[in-house]
Symmetry: C2
Subunit: 340 residues, 2 copies
DNA sequence: ATGAAAGCGCTAACAT
DNA sequence: ATGTTAGCGCTTTCAT
């Protein structure tokens, strides 16, 4: 048990030098086929595994990427994760992942974990608290050390790096337009994740669309900025006090729960009230009626972000491209919670 | 830009030795308060970050744990992941995660990634293919190297290690009993993930319960071992050809979709057919009617597995405890898809 | 209290 | 084709 055989051990047993063993195991052509085979066989037989810390130290790089996401129980982020994992593996990188759990403190702790040398690049979507407090200085150390960062979905303008974002403004505009075209005039906007930049964009898209269709914006129909536990109360009060014929939910939670509450209150969906929600997870497909949703293409976002990051990692340092922001178009998946 | 300042740099600037700097930064009491402060301040100012590869190499250990899960889009595994992340962080370890995507090949590739020195311990739940082909030799190298493994949920008897499993037999027995006590006699069992050890246990629990209640086991009511794309066809044929008054779904997918199909076919839930499903994710709570579910306490399983693993990692080598298997009890969350 | 030096396991430049 | 050697950045023992 507990072997941990090293290059030296192999070299000693086979009466060759450490350098030869290293070269043989790395497929260097300087080594004769015969010795190579001897060495490779011996290594395999004794289950030699290179010490990755020594390799990384020597090579001054590591084939690993750090990933910080706010919440893995959120389907969108789970999708991103799955895309990241896949794309990174294809290019020979592995993922060191951390969940910030929407907390700034945890996010900072996490950046300390992803220390110097552990990762060659960092993928991050900001925690809710981080965005609220606009505190992003803990990412600066990576940039200082020359470790590239790619931010996705929840990004910060204060950090200079590549970004992958969803066209939240457009998505919201299109969803609102769809509702208006299907005959709705009293479109409410509901959100539980306030203060997030993406929330503001979604709100802006919604407002712009109403304007373009000459519908007066009624701030009373915009419900955000409240405690999640008060959701039911807030929505009930919205539906009681105002004539609403459509709800645009800025998160899956908001859309699905708004529908459940509206149904409970006796409204017919979509006859009385139409619903559209952001994030196309499992719920909208299984709920009754199924909910028309904005698909943000999470997996694709993950893949794209990895590609940008690895390109940056492997980029020649003589020829550095300017930072870019990739905007991913969303699509509206039409289901039964909206009229034609 | 691109500083990557090292101990040597600090030592040179402050005209002290590398050893002194190292000791100061690690809070060694040999160093005078004055020098310590000078060094710490300088390091902070220049954003010194230790090279983790060098530290790990020198210390011959790494504060990281590897995690291999079959599928992050599965709510149960997402829950486990979240528990793992949390518990590991509490004890100062970070997580290097990989998704096997239910593939043996990917799982093997993954074990190669989690090479020697990168991680101090490994947490794994087997991929479907791995279980089917009973090929688990790729885990042996970790055991040989003295890197402990803890398997959870989908475990292998061929590997000697600590394990955390769900009481699948008991869970299935209890669920079946609940159905019988609520007046059902024709209980069907439906599964899409066949050949998994946990599936067999669930089936055994189901059968044992029927026996105990003197209900003859009708193999026609057991639907498994088919392609996922054929799900609808299989369930429709089950409901057409047999009088069924309850369905026990061995996965969330099976339970939720069985219910949807039964509803489409005009059956009333739970009056005509009762439903119980494994895995207590979001879907069973939002679907109409809500589905009575077996909660496997994913987060707790993750935490428990981490604790066992870290205890093993930090264990004195003179005093090695025998391997143990922790069995986590499930609970049945009663909802509207079952009668009283 | 501080410094010097060895060495963790590996790669790669250089020598043979 | 194979060997020798320096050194990656750090910790730690031993000396001063």
């Amino acid at each position: 048990m507990k072997s941990k055989i090293t290059l030296r051990d192999i070299a000693k047993h086979l009466k060759v030098s450490v350098g030869t063993v290293s070269k043989a195991l790395n497929g260097n052509h300087e080594i004769s086929e015969k010795t190579r085979k001897r060495i490779v066989n011996y290594a395999k037989k004794h289950r030699y595994v290179p010490n990755i810390n020594a390799v990384n130290l020597r090579k001054e790089s590591a084939p690993a990427i750090g990933l910080i996401i706010p919440n893995i129980l959120n389907y969108f982020f789970a999708q991103v994760f799955s895309g990241v994992e896949m794309a990174a593996n294809e290019r020979g990188y592995n993922i060191i992942s951390c969940i910030s759990n929407e907390s700034l403190e945890k996010e900072i702790a996490t950046t300390n974990t992803l220390k110097n040398g552990l990762i060659s690049g960092l993928l991050v979507s900001l925690s809710e608290e981080t965005e609220k407090q606009k505190q992003t200085s803990h990412f600066k150390k990576f940039i200082d050390m020359g470790t590239p960062i790619v931010m996705f979905d929840r990004v910060s303008t204060a950090i200079q790096c590549d970004k992958v974002i969803v066209d939240d403004f457009g998505a919201s505009y299109d969803a609102t337009e769809y509702l208006i075209k299907s005959g709705c005039r009293k479109v409410a906007a509901v959100s539980i994740l306030d203060n997030l930049e993406i929330g503001k964009l979604r709100l802006a898209g919604y407002k712009k669309c109403l304007e373009d269709y000459n519908i007066i914006i009624d701030e009373k129909l915009i419900v955000r900025n409240f405690d999640k536990t008060l959701f039911t109360t807030e929505i009930k009060s919205l539906l009681h006090n105002h004539k609403v014929d459509a709800i645009l939910g800025f998160e899956e939670f908001a859309a699905v729960n708004s529908m459940v509450i509206a149904k409970d209150l006796g409204f017919k969906i979509p006859e009385d009230i139409s619903i559209i929600g952001f994030t196309n997870g499992m719920l909208p497909q299984y709920v009754t009626p199924t909910i028309t949703s904005v698909s943000q293409h999470g997996k694709y976002i993950g893949q794209k972000a990895v590609q940008m990051l690895i390109n940056r990692i492997e980029e020649e340092h003589t020829n550095i491209a300017p930072f870019s922001t990739e905007i991913i178009k969303t699509s509206l998946i039409i289901r039964d919670s909206t009229k034609n």
